[in-house]
């Protein structure tokens, strides 16, 4: 008995709402057990108190359908509607709080019932027969899944009925690196080490410059020739390369400043960027 596949499958699926009791039986025997249990308690009230145990109206409908004790494909939808509506009415009478979806389902079923009772030619689209069939199909599918769940849970399960090795040694894979190189890389690397660390000789090439001293000599000498203003550019060597000219200009400018400081020359510039002019000061004129 304890080894049958459906045994205690539902115990494991019991939810927190005291449904362990409700689910302790094989699902096939639900309706009968439900009735029996309901009878054992004081009639309807006990049944309605389980309202919270239903997972929504479809769930309740399925259970009611099972009470018809026929194949779900042969249930009478009209009878089912009556069962449901009676159920809801009585729950209301007992002042049980009903979730909205139960009431919505009740209203819909009441509509369905009246539509089913109307003459055929007054039917709208979709027809009430179609709606009833749809409901029936849904109940069949839910019923099928519920049974499947019970059978699944009733299987021999690992950790409950079946056990794996308690203390497996475990498999380990150690990664090992195989290093690879070759002779060419080796001697090339050595060549590079040697080349990189070989003693080096630094060559500093002579760059064409005019030193401050030679500029000083040159400017003083040229200033001695005349008392007129001279453009600083006139002091530069005429045949100089551009690089030497730059150096000569800088040195000559510093030389001019030096001579001005010594009181031997004066410097004038009419405005920014205009030619810088230099002329000799008469000896003693500034003193």
């Amino acid at each position: 008995m304890s080894m049958t596949s459906n045994d205690d499958g539902f115990m494991l699926s019991g939810d927190a709402m005291g449904a362990g009791e409700a689910t302790a039986e094989m699902p096939e025997s639900w309706p009968a057990d439900e009735v029996a249990r309901t009878g054992a308690k004081s009639g309807d009230e006990a049944l309605y108190l389980e309202l919270e145990g239903w997972e929504g109206p479809l769930d309740l409908l399925l259970d009611l359908a099972r009470r018809q004790k026929v194949d779900l494909r042969q249930i009478s939808i009209l009878a089912l509607v009556d069962q449901y509506l009676t159920y809801i009415e009585q729950a209301k009478a007992l002042r049980l709080e009903l979730a909205a979806d139960y009431l919505v389902m009740a209203a819909w079923l009441a509509y369905l019932k009246s539509a089913l009772l109307l003459p055929k030619d007054e039917q709208e689209d979709p027809s009430p027969e179609e709606l009833a069939l749809r409901l029936q199909l849904r109940l069949q599918r839910l019923g099928a899944m519920r049974e499947a769940a019970a059978r699944l849970m009733g299987r021999d399960r690992i950790g409950r009925d079946i056990f794996l090795r308690g203390n497996p040694e475990g498999l380990r894979i150690d990664r090992k690196t195989l290093w690879k190189s070759d002779v060419y890389s080796l001697i090339q690397a050595y060549g590079q080490v040697k080349a990189r660390t070989a003693p080096r000789i630094y060559h500093v090439s002579n760059r064409p410059v005019m030193t401050l001293d030679s500029a000083l000599d040159r400017v003083s000498a040229m200033l001695g020739v005349t008392l007129d203003w001279m453009d600083i550019r006139d002091f530069l060597p005429t045949d100089a390369e551009p690089e030497l000219r730059k150096s000569a200009l800088a040195s000559s400018f510093v030389a001019a400043l030096e001579l001005a400081r010594l009181g031997r020359a004066e410097i004038a510039q009419e405005e920014a960027y205009s030619p810088l002019r230099i002329r000799r000061l008469k000896q003693g004129a500034s003193a």
Binding site: E55, L58, E130, L133, A148, I158, F163
Partner: protein
Amino acid sequence: MSGERSDDAVERALEATLFATEEPMTVDELAVHLGGLEKGSVREGLKALAHHYAERGVHLVERGKRWHFETAPDLAHLLRREREQVRRLSRAATEVLAVIAYHEPVSRAEIESIRGVQTSSGTLDVLMEAGWIKLAGRREVPGRPVIYATTPEFLDHFGLASRRDLPGIDELRATGLLDPVDDALEQAMGGDMDPDNPSECEADEEADEIAEPDA
């Protein structure tokens, strides 16, 4: 003679490896682990080994293409632990698991249309945490809903070699109980409103045609 000997060696190596492993192993994994053995000989070795253990206290079984040793089911009464090792599932979780297993891959909306109630997010979480279901991508329809499917661990836990072993799945499929309600309705309405006998319907073929895109 030497062939026999080498078969024996493969069998012993497989036995030792599968006893020692902490996780079930596929034929490929076993072949690699045993130093690039041919998959053919691994398969043969597994078959021989499973046969050897068939009547013993431990069995060698294949679950979702992965092999492991486990205790024989008929010895459950000796081994059942006092400390419950198996997660207790709520009825809702059990039902959701069944819907996913029998219909996979399914979206949450599809699960809800079968069960007729909303699925609390905790329910799917519990099943994911147990390692029995996984996200299986998205359905390429408006809204691109996430779809769910079962895992190899699910097959493992419930002792199923594959989903074809799901209890009653063949009957469910044959009776159309795994088809969407709309398809079944189409089929039933096409005929004489007789849902019991859809094969007699004239519109049978037509219904199939309509059903197919949804499948």
